[in-house]
């Protein structure tokens, strides 16, 4: 299996490098080199597979930890000593902040330390993680997009209360705007990820430069709440990459399927930018 090659090969950095290569190829003299871009897309896919596997392993560990902590908490409630319970909450919060997980849904779960939102369980609901060594090929993609389960009252910004809210995230390389399509609803996210400091709400940070004009977007589109303290320091490669991962569902077809979904409901702007990206690869 992929892994264990030259020491220190980082899947995340490979993804960044690959995307940068594809992006730069659009302005290269002589036109887009189909062969080179095809090879880069293979590296991208390989790196993404490894990255997702690693994330799943981490989420599984987190889930296991949460389950343990829940049990501990229940035990603690019976215990006159409250110190341990507070410590457990602290740990859980810091856990949530540390995790840089795949997909916004998982980030949301991690940002709510006090709640019993079982991010891990949401994921595990669609992908049993008994064996992290198994290739989660069929389900990982959906899992990336799965929302928190219905028992998430602390999240008023969830698109729907449904347990299986389908959500896909794509990034426009031109404007660096992340667009999320959720059960047919379009949201404009941003490249930054919340670091989990704020509880109870899913907050999004927007780059000043990438605020897109959505005035002409149809009624069924809505924006997410903006964070007051938009700061570039919140930007993490990990979350950016995790959003970008969903672009490449499989080879180039990830792009097209997203485009097909979006074409029905998307604003022209998002569609045009995605189309340009696809066209850049096809080029002729």
């Amino acid at each position: 299996m992929i892994g264990g090659m030259e020491g220190g090969v980082d899947a995340q950095s490979l993804i960044s490098i690959s995307l940068m290569k594809i992006h730069n190829s659009r302005t290269q003299r002589g036109g887009i080199k189909l062969h080179k871009n095809l090879l880069v897309s293979y590296v991208l896919r390989n790196a993404r597979q490894v990255y997702i596997k690693e994330k799943y392993a981490e989420i599984y560990r987190m889930q296991q930890y949460e389950e343990v902590m829940t049990v501990c908490n229940e035990i603690q409630e019976l215990n006159p000593l409250d110190l341990d319970a507070e410590e457990a909450d602290e740990e859980e919060r810091s856990r949530g902040e540390e995790s840089s997980v795949c997909g916004a849904a998982l980030q949301r779960g991690a940002a709510q330390p006090a709640a019993l939102c079982r991010t891990g369980s949401a994921v595990s609901g669609c992908c049993p993680l008994e064996d992290v060594g198994k290739d989660p090929e069929p389900s990982y993609y959906r899992s990336c997009c799965m929302e928190a389960p219905p028992a998430a009252p602390c999240d008023p910004f969830t698109g729907s209360g449904g347990a299986h809210c389908n959500k896909t995230t794509v990034l426009d390389l031109d404007t660096h705007v992340v667009t999320t399509v959720e059960n047919g609803f379009l949201h404009q996210d941003c490249c930054c990820a919340p670091t989990g400091q704020s509880a109870a709400k899913k907050r999004k940070v927007e780059f000043g430069c990438c605020v897109s004009d959505l005035d002409d977007v149809p009624d069924f589109t809505r924006k997410r709440a903006k964070r007051e303290d938009c700061s570039f320091s919140d930007y993490t490669d990990t979350s950016n990459i995790s959003n970008l991962i969903s672009i490449f569902g499989s080879g180039f077809s990830g792009l097209l399927s997203r485009q097909a979904d979006l074409e029905q409901i998307c604003s022209k702007q998002a569609l045009a930018s995605l189309g340009a990206w696809t066209r850049a690869i096809v080029a002729f």
């Binding site: 299996m1 992929i2 090659m5 030259e6 090969v9 899947a11 490979l14 490098i17 290569k21 003299r29 002589g30 036109g31 080199k33 189909l34 062969h35 080179k36 095809l38 090879l39 293979y42 590296v43 390989n46 790196a47 490894v50 080879g251 180039f252 077809s253 792009l255 097209l256 696809t278 690869i281 096809v282 080029a283 002729f284």
Partner: protein, 452 residues
């Protein structure tokens, strides 16, 4: 047979004539293709600036035995110019991707040169006589005053200084949507093929306004694209057979008699992937960068990033021989990916008797493998080590931290900007042409001039 351990004497001909060894060059001077003609008398090079330079071998002279066999510049011309495709807003590079000579049929020489989009047929002819004694015009070509003409004379041909004229005879344009990577002249001497990333077209040398598409691997939905064509070549003797290689490391032998569209291969040459060697870059390093038929037509030589392989046309399941060109790079693939070196396309070559294969590497090294003795040698093409008539010294690359002999080079000291992508071997003699960035080196094995 050429024993690779026997060293070569070198007669260097360089294109750029800067005196300092580290003088800078422009990108247009970078050599992008090298090709001997069928007799080996002429050697053509193409560069990134769209120019073609042809070298001619000096005939052996009894008076000057040491100048025997040297190649000197014969002709230089601008083959392709940069173009702009207004419809797609794309610039078309003038870089010469390939040159192929036609077999000589009269006094003139013909060659095909191609950039990304357009193939051109050039006629190279000599003029060593000119007519003198015109009645109506004088020596400079000015019209004479008729009143001064008192008698008539018949113009005669007088010898003149040799002049080499190059003229474009055919332009084969607008047939390729993607970048042309190969051209190959058929053994019927009437047709040739051109291959781009997704299609191969068959042309008649005399007809420029149409071509036949014989291979098309473009998927209905471009998003389903999984492989591209990387090289193609006609069989040297059977005019109906050709081979093309793909980015997935497969070779397909096609027979044009089977169908008009040769999408279905006659033979598929593929080596199963070793699952234990899987890495992020498995797909990249398995992509075939060059494919060459042996002179006999019995074998195929392919080059991928780390190896060169010899295939038997009768065995599709695996290659006959695999040669490690620079396996020490296997642990450095990530850095080579970052600096784009992993996408370098190395070419390969057979010697005239198909007993030795040659290919380039980094640090201006090139490698030769003797198929019979299984010995191999690494040589360097550089000004410092290649004075005229000097003898090339075999080089060795040692793994970082390994036991190091004197004159060995460590993997970490390799210069990856100095790459030898294009090499050519004289069709009958032990003379090789090595293109090192903007310099051309021609080496000759004086000890074993004749091929065994």
């Amino acid at each position: 047979m050429l024993s690779p351990i026997q060293v070569l004497c070198s007669d260097i001909t360089t294109l750029s004539l800067e005196p300092e060894p580290f003088a800078s060059y422009t990108e247009a001077d970078i050599i992008s293709t090298v090709e001997f003609n069928h007799t080996g008398e002429l050697l053509a090079t193409g560069d990134k600036g769209g120019r073609v330079v042809i070298f001619q071998r000096e005939p052996e002279s009894k008076t000057e035995p040491f100048s025997q066999g040297e190649y000197n510049v014969y002709s230089t011309f601008q083959s392709h110019e940069p173009e702009f495709d207004y419809l797609k807003s794309l610039e078309i590079e003038e870089k010469i991707n390939k040159i192929r000579w036609l077999p000589q049929q009269n006094a003139a020489h013909f060659l095909l040169s191609t950039n990304d989009k357009t193939i051109k047929l050039w006629k190279v002819s000599e003029r060593d006589k000119r007519p003198e004694g015109y009645n109506l015009k004088d020596e400079e070509g000015r019209i004479k005053d008729i009143s001064t003409v008192t008698s008539l004379q018949v113009p005669v041909l007088k010898p003149m200084d040799l002049m080499v004229e190059v003229s474009p005879r055919r332009v084969f344009a607008n047939a390729h949507t993607y970048h042309v990577n190969s051209i190959s002249v058929n053994s019927d001497y009437e047709t040739y093929m051109s291959a781009d990333d997704l299609r191969i077209n068959l042309w008649h040398l005399d007809i420029t306004d149409r071509s036949f598409n014989i291979v098309d691997i473009k998927p209905v939905n471009m998003e389903d694209l999984t492989e591209v064509i990387t090289a193609a070549e006609f069989h040297p003797h059977h005019c109906n057979l050709f081979v093309y290689s793909s980015s997935k490391g497969t070779l397909r032998l096609c027979d044009m008699r089977e169908a008009a569209l040769c999408d279905k291969h006659s033979k598929l040459f593929e080596e199963p992937e070793d699952p234990s060697a899987r890495s992020f870059f498995s797909e990249i390093i398995s992509s075939v960068s060059d494919v060459k038929f042996s002179h006999s037509g019995r074998y195929l030589l392919t080059r991928d990033y780390l190896t060169a392989k010899v295939w038997d046309l009768n065995m599709e399941s695996k290659p006959l021989e695999t040669y490690q060109v620079h396996d020490y790079l296997r642990s450095k693939l990530c850095s080579l990916y970052e600096n784009d070196c992993i996408f370098d396309k190395f070419e390969c070559a057979w010697n005239g008797s198909d007993s030795v294969i040659m290919t380039g590497a980094y640090n201006n090294f090139f490698r030769m493998f003797d198929r019979n003795t299984k010995r191999d040698v690494t040589l360097e093409a550089s000004r410092e080590s290649s004075k005229p008539r000097a003898v090339l010294k075999p080089r060795r690359v040692c793994a970082a931290g390994g036991k190091r002999r004197k004159d060995d080079i460590s993997v970490d000291s390799l210069d990856f900007t100095k790459k030898i992508l294009h090499t050519a071997w004289h069709p009958t003699e032990n003379i090789i042409a090595i293109a090192a960035t903007n310099n051309l080196y021609i080496f000759q094995d004086k000890l074993n001039s004749e091929m065994h």
